[in-house]
């Protein structure tokens, strides 16, 4: 069965909502929750997720809030923290490792910490039975893919196109997929620009999809109340899960 990873921006619009949404997503069949850590300068993200980040910060988001909500979420659905490297570095990776273990978070996704820069930190993370998700991109050579995915844990995050999250671009990824599969049996998930319309197509040849901006658009929709937002996102998740497995 192909997996579905759902990205949501932690604590937007508030902490209770994030917990409710996470649990609803679990019921909708989501396999992993990617809990986004709001950051002032999210350069890998498009306008939708950027807006959610800025709004969460405006609402007063603190890293402590991430730890709080994670304790209520991670024991119930496999959860990863997705965030830019600076807050990890500034507050100390040790703190994140300890808090992740406390909350039963499985690991980290850090889009601006590529393989080379990650090396000094990866050992510590893995020694604590946590994972640091590896990225592969359409610009990668076969040699580089070999190097990156050789020891990949949990799953590999394949960026669907050269770009930022939530764009409507597509690229031929068959060669990249073959290159990854030749080296490892770690599941390969595709993310960036995946939505209800294209999930089935995007899931071809891979083991799962990662959906973010499509959900966050609903999260940012001022015409919906909290209950409607959760309901709408859950239905989308359910549909996507069905489509990728049909």
């Amino acid at each position: 069965m192909k997996k579905l990873v759902a990205y949501i921006t932690a604590t937007y619009p508030n902490k209770d909502f994030t917990v409710d949404l996470a649990l609803a997503l679990k019921d909708a069949g989501v396999d992993y929750l990617e809990l986004g850590i709001p950051f002032s300068d999210p350069v890998a993200d498009g306008p939708v997720i950027d807006e959610a980040n800025q709004k969460a910060l405006k609402n007063g988001f603190k890293i402590k809030d991430l730890f709080d909500v994670s304790k209520k979420i991670a024991p119930k659905i496999p959860t990863l923290w997705m965030g830019y490297f600076n807050p990890f570095y500034h507050k100390g990776l040790d703190l994140f490792i300890n808090e992740a273990k406390n909350a039963k978070v499985k690991g980290f996704i850090i889009p601006d910490l590529p393989y080379e820069e990650a090396l000094p930190y990866k050992k510590d993370i893995e020694a604590n039975n946590l994972c640091l998700i590896d990225f592969v991109a359409p610009t990668d050579s076969k040699e580089r893919i070999n190097k990156i995915v050789k020891d990949a844990k949990e799953f590999i995050y394949m960026v669907a196109y050269a770009g930022i999250t939530g764009a409507s671009k597509s690229e031929n990824l068959q060669e990249i997929i073959a290159n990854v599969k030749a080296v490892t049996s770690t599941p390969l998930f595709i993310g960036f620009g995946v939505n209800e319309q294209n999930a089935k197509e995007k899931a071809k040849g891979v083991d799962g999809v990662i959906v973010g901006s499509a959900f966050i658009k609903v999260l940012l929709d001022n015409n919906l109340n909290y209950t409607q937002k959760i309901e709408k996102i859950s239905i989308m998740a359910k549909n996507i899960k069905e489509q990728i497995n049909s």
Binding site: P47, I63, Y84, G163, K169
Partner: protein, 400 residues
Amino acid sequence: MYIPKPSKYDPDSNGHFGIFGGRYVPETLMPILEELEQNYLKVRFDNDFWSEVDYYYKQYVGRPSPLYFAKNLSDELGAKVYLKREDLNHTGAHKINHTVAQAILAKRLGKKKIIAETGAGQHGVATATVAALFNLECEIFMGAKDVKRQELNVFRMKLLGAKVHSVTSGSQTLKDAMNDAIRHWVSNARDTFYVIGTVAGPHPYPMMIRDIQSIIGYEAKAQILKAENKMPDFVIACIGGGSNAMGIFNHFLDEEQTQCIGIEAGGLGLDSKHGASLAKGSPGVLHGQMSYLLQDEDGQILEAYSISAGLDYPGIGPEHAYLKELGKVKYDSITDKEALDAFVWLSQKEGIIPAFESSHAIAYLKKMPKEEIKGKIIIVNLSGRGDKDMVQAKNLLHFD
């Protein structure tokens, strides 16, 4: 002819200056940066490449820039003050040095499009200028606030044929312009060359732009030897990202006689709003590099502030962070008020109107204890001219 030389302070093979620098970028950009690094290393010491750069420096930019003995300033201070006149370059600042060389590199790599971020618009104008010269498509990213503040430079860029994007995300200033330039670059990296405007960003940019800008120190060293037959006691430059400072410091770092001093934007004072990342920031990662940053307790990036849009940046080039930790360069800051006083001082003493950025370096001459500089030789890098600041200055100063 100027050709860079390997430096004792060169980064390691992954671009690290000590703990600083590196390549903290989305995976999509890693192969692009590796390719750029390999291509830059091929031309780094290549006679043919630098001959082409040299041609444009001499014929188009107007290099070498003079090292001017500022007699009136010197008399007042009791020191020998020389000004490295980067303000006399085409387009009015040192920025044209690195845009010319980067555009030639972009052309050699077969890239037809260039992009750049800009704060005050000087780097944007210098990029739009070389785009016109070398027939490249050009898009400039500028914070919406800066677009309003620097209307004239926006018009200049458009006149030169560039497309200007007004960036409305985040704080709508230089930091956010750079975010959007990076986002555009990730999406178009295969055919687009990112002309970064300072010694910052992911490797190889900090090293590459330092190499290019070191034409300033290379010339200044020969010029001061000719004038004084000895090394200067002090070399002073202002720092936003730090390109003009790295450019002039690089050739003096290992001169025992010489103390290099970098001047950050003190804004309204270091206990208030400012742009002094080295003085008040801490190490962190932004825009592809590890360096000193202005950030809060959670590692969220703070907005910088300075009277000068070119120094209004919450980070600093990683090599400066490294030189600070090594104790090799001294760093200090100058407030808006001190800079504005120096702006008037240089204008009225020497008939040279400096950019607000460069006014910070000039102001430091007055901050240094008189007995410490008595009879000493001082070079100040006059990185740019003040034309762009006239509208802002007119609102701040009244002479009637």
